[in-house]
Symmetry: C2
Amino acid sequence: MDVAHLRIDSDRLWSTLEASARIGPGRAGGLCRLSLSDEDREIRDLFAKWCGDAGLIMTVDQVGNMFARRAGSDADATPVVVGSHLDTQVTGGKFDGILGVLSGLEIIRTLNDNGIGTKRPIEVVNWTNEEGARFAPPMLGSGVFAGVYPVDWALARESDEGATFGAELERIGYAGSAPAGGRNFDAYYELHIEQAPILDRKGIPLGVVTGGYKTHGMFVEVRGETAHAGPTEMQDRRDAIVGAARIVTGVNDVGWRYADGGGKTTAPRLVAWPNKVGILSASALVALDCRHPDPETSDRMLGEIEALIQEAGRKANVDVEIVQRWEYGNEAFDPALAGLVRDAAHMLDVPFLDMLSQAGHDAYNISRVAPTALIFTPCKDGITHNEAEHIESDYTIPGVNALLHAVLARANRS
Amino acid sequence: MDVAHLRIDSDRLWSTLEASARIGPGRAGGLCRLSLSDEDREIRDLFAKWCGDAGLIMTVDQVGNMFARRAGSDADATPVVVGSHLDTQVTGGKFDGILGVLSGLEIIRTLNDNGIGTKRPIEVVNWTNEEGARFAPPMLGSGVFAGVYPVDWALARESDEGATFGAELERIGYAGSAPAGGRNFDAYYELHIEQAPILDRKGIPLGVVTGGYKTHGMFVEVRGETAHAGPTEMQDRRDAIVGAARIVTGVNDVGWRYADGGGKTTAPRLVAWPNKVGILSASALVALDCRHPDPETSDRMLGEIEALIQEAGRKANVDVEIVQRWEYGNEAFDPALAGLVRDAAHMLDVPFLDMLSQAGHDAYNISRVAPTALIFTPCKDGITHNEAEHIESDYTIPGVNALLHAVLARANRS
């Protein structure tokens, strides 16, 4: 057949998404499939079966990243890799990450059905713990792969229930033997739902991501002292909850000051101890981040946040310490790969838009070690990390077909 | 013997306190003996054994309140009751509440040793779950006894781990058969460490509590919506953590505005869900209270807090609802009983001070159904709900002896 006429099987992709959506049902029709949970094991087992049925060879690395390989005709060639993640948030949707992995699988199935070989191997990857909902930080599997985090550090991460990442990985049977990292990719393509409403509002089915909102994140530890919630004079209080709340409030104020230019701030997590009625808390941990399309403005927001953390500490008479930092969104995606996506879109007559990514994605980490492209398909109203997350087949398939042809172009590159 | 020369055995009281302090050791030398835990069962069993050894008859009511009775010569007379609580905070001390119960026991032992009978029965009481650290609200056992809360409502309270008060009461063997409430007291005396530094700073060993700081408390439920912590525009966010943090910050500001007059505010507990990185939280619960020695000022603080809760909800674009309220500290203690304490102090040459209570105590609840006296002994620097809580025998025993004689005076009343 003329490869230019090749299209994925949209019904099969949809029924595969639906099969995934039956594993780890959450509230209100969404998914709650936390990393390394029983439900994560179940979707991993099913994904591995699908890959086996498609003739792929599976490799699992030390942090549970799964690489399913379709051989190429050139035994020495590095692979073209396509994927994303299969884990979800507590109130996750059925497509965030999942669409990227299962689109990779659908591309393989399409090539198989049509008897199309490639020079380079093609691999479908499922990165472990992209969400970070159970084990912080997010994008952990791809981060270890890209050398951002050491393997042992990742294995020692703890859930709220005190389970370690390493023990849970063993428990669900996905503590692989392959080294995490050190695999050379010819290219890494990640297709993801946009998680913002731009494509949906414009009615454009494909976004070619040229960069990210520069994002600074951190954990702040607040240390005070327990005391009676009643008689202790205001000036004698060292209440960690007050320090933490002043940080959250201040961070939110920074977001509002930069909102007109697209700036955003979040403090998504606040944990205090003992956090009981009748007693002031001795400690608290706050997670927070800021992001902005303009890197310098993002840095300025960070500076304001660092200052307000100190000020919150003074006001609440508590010690504050930034105990962990992360940064992403300023990575460079590969212009040649983006060009191949645009070429495919032109060939398929798929309207597209160059755009920035506002959320973090595994592609950020992988861009440090391999040429990387990130592409978006629309999600309704940009709603995600919410059970109302929704995508339409009509607006999704064009992007997957563009991915197919971009992958093919690269996989046959000499 | 001449009853006027009667004194408690301070060494025995201290060794009894030390035996208690070995049950439920917490961090740094304090206690962590949460209500209805295994440790609570252990101290209850030991207290019951001590009471049995002293010839007392134990009655346990439906919410686990323990009444240990020494008969009087008048079979129809209502009892003089002395007590407090044996549970502690997570970072509790060894004396908060405990001193009141074990002083009651020591008074009984002293009467026994000296062969002194009384006309009225004397009972030593251990109220269940004064702290509220595991099951909110605090002062729950005495609250049910006084008709503030229904029995079934109390039994349905849940811990953070999802255990119910009723099931845990059964589990530790203290779900008694006696009705909670309906027992008539001739008088209720509660001795407690002050939990503020006034007596300690003045070097006065005894405080006669004439009233309380009027205290308003509540739980506020904050309801927002989950969404991605990254791309969601500031104006589209309905982040429950931001709403909760703005409430905590505002409540703290109110406390500072009234601090010069002795006003205090606290938001000791903030729980959010899902409270994970990467996602905005859909809901949060905040506990808060305000207190002031002047009741009208306390009411004004409450009004300001109610207004700021609404304002925080508007700013964070979340729904806020006050889902539970409580109030205490405006109760009237019994002047006649306070007079008997002062008489005893005069007789024993114990300096004392009339004062207000800043913290909540079971005595507040009991004052609704019986003539009640609350008396304080010093604690070092007023530190409590902290493992550094400390009392000195020299500054404690005079108050216990005053209690002994105040109890005796009432127990022999015709």
